[in-house]
């Protein structure tokens, strides 16, 4: 996947997914992009609750990322309307409190 599927040679090379394209690459395109036309069978893909939940988990795993301590988007002004330093300041305060608490314990023992 680190190499493109092949050299681009004009239209003849135009393809859908390169072979072995990862599922996320395909899903983000076929579910999230592409022409939207109201068909006769009305399914709003984004209305499907479980699908949405799964895709949130799988395609853009915000919660999972948070679990792993990755929450950079909360500080990135282009990705959030929250003040950029709010979370960092909170985290700082929490850590300082924790340090103080542990030092206190250490002192007592």
């Amino acid at each position: 996947m680190t190499e493109p599927a092949g050299p681009v040679g004009g239209r003849a090379a135009t393809r859908g997914a390169p072979s072995g394209a990862n599922l996320a690459d395909i899903l983000e395109r076929v579910l999230d992009k592409g022409i939207v036309i109201a068909g006769d069978i009305q399914i709003n893909l984004l209305d499907i609750e479980l699908l949405t939940i799964k895709l949130r988990l799988l395609v853009a795993s915000v919660d999972r990322a948070k679990e792993m301590g990755i929450d950079w988007w909360e500080h990135d002004p282009s990705l959030t309307s929250k003040p950029a330093n709010g979370e960092l300041a909170d985290e700082n305060r929490r850590l300082k409190e924790k340090v103080a608490e542990l030092e206190g314990r250490q002192g007592r023992s």
Partner: protein, 279 residues
């Protein structure tokens, strides 16, 4: 008979599960007559051209039993089924795109009969044509930058906490780890920004996608940048060469190029002009 009446009637007569509805893969124009020979879509069914003037929708029959509203709602929750449909959809789109400007439909765009598909082309002819002009002679390339945050903290920094109080030294180590992770992330974000700026020069348009999770993509590292570029065919070689150079020079992050894709990310925003037009 109005569309609503027709729809109601068709749905009524199509109650049995083996009735078919038409699944639309993509719209293209001036499609060569033999282009679809032997091309099979979902359920192994041969796809067919549905043409109005110079425009053609490529569609194929699928069973109402799986693609009716209720069934589809349930089926879409099944990731294995979804994957199969998504890959097949994309395969057919890719095959059509070999023959000229192509706009893929969103997954599961379904009509009761070919007449209804033709109506879409008839009413949307001007907008579809304009959108095809925009992607004609261009392909989409995907570029992702992954940050490598797994690098261990340099030993000198970690052990510099020569404190006899283990609680404090542990915390210091944790903070150092966090700081080094933050720094690695910041440097990857900056690298991603530079990659994006450089590649944008060779692209006509760019569209940012949401970063992907490693769980679904199976890729190592944390996805810092996920962008689709619309690149003219004539610029394709330069684009790939530049991406290759950037990849070779990348430190602390990994650059991945996918494509060429049909121009999924550069289609029409919403032909139905409904309230839920994506951004």
């Amino acid at each position: 008979m109005s569309i609503e009446e027709r729809r109601a009637e068709s749905l009524q007569t199509a109650q049995c599960a083996d009735a078919s509805v038409w699944y639309c893969y993509a719209v293209t124009r001036n499609l060569p007559a033999a282009a679809l020979d032997g091309l099979r879509g979902l359920q192994g069914a041969l796809v067919e051209p549905v043409t109005f003037a110079d425009l053609t929708v490529v569609a194929g029959p699928v069973p109402l039993g799986q693609f009716g509203e209720t069934a589809l709602r349930a089926k879409l929750e099944d990731l294995a089924w979804l994957e199969e449909v998504a890959r097949r959809h994309d395969d057919v789109v890719g095959e059509i795109a070999r023959h000229g400007a192509t706009l893929p439909f969103r997954l599961a765009t379904l009509y009761l009969d070919q007449h209804r598909v033709r109506t879409v082309l008839e009413t949307g002819h001007a907008r579809i044509s304009a959108a095809l002009d925009r992607v004609d002679g261009r392909v989409e390339w995907g570029v992702k930058v992954y940050a490598d945050l797994s690098k261990p903290v340099p030993a000198a920094v970690a052990s510099a906490a020569g404190d006899d109080r283990p609680g404090r030294s542990y915390l210091r180590k944790r903070l150092t780890e966090q700081r080094s992770k933050d720094e690695a992330w910041q440097s990857a974000v900056q690298a991603a920004d530079e990659v994006d700026t450089a590649l944008s020069e060779l692209a006509e348009e760019r569209r940012a996608h949401r970063p992907q999770s490693a769980e679904l993509s199976g890729e190592a590292g944390v996805n810092a940048l996920n962008v689709a570029y619309l690149v003219p065919d004539g610029q394709g070689d330069r684009f790939l060469a530049l991406a290759g150079e950037l990849r070779a020079a990348a430190r602390g992050c990994r650059i991945e190029v996918t494509g060429p894709w049909a121009p999924y990310s550069f289609g029409l925003p919403d032909l139905s002009a409904g309230p839920d037009a994506p951004g």
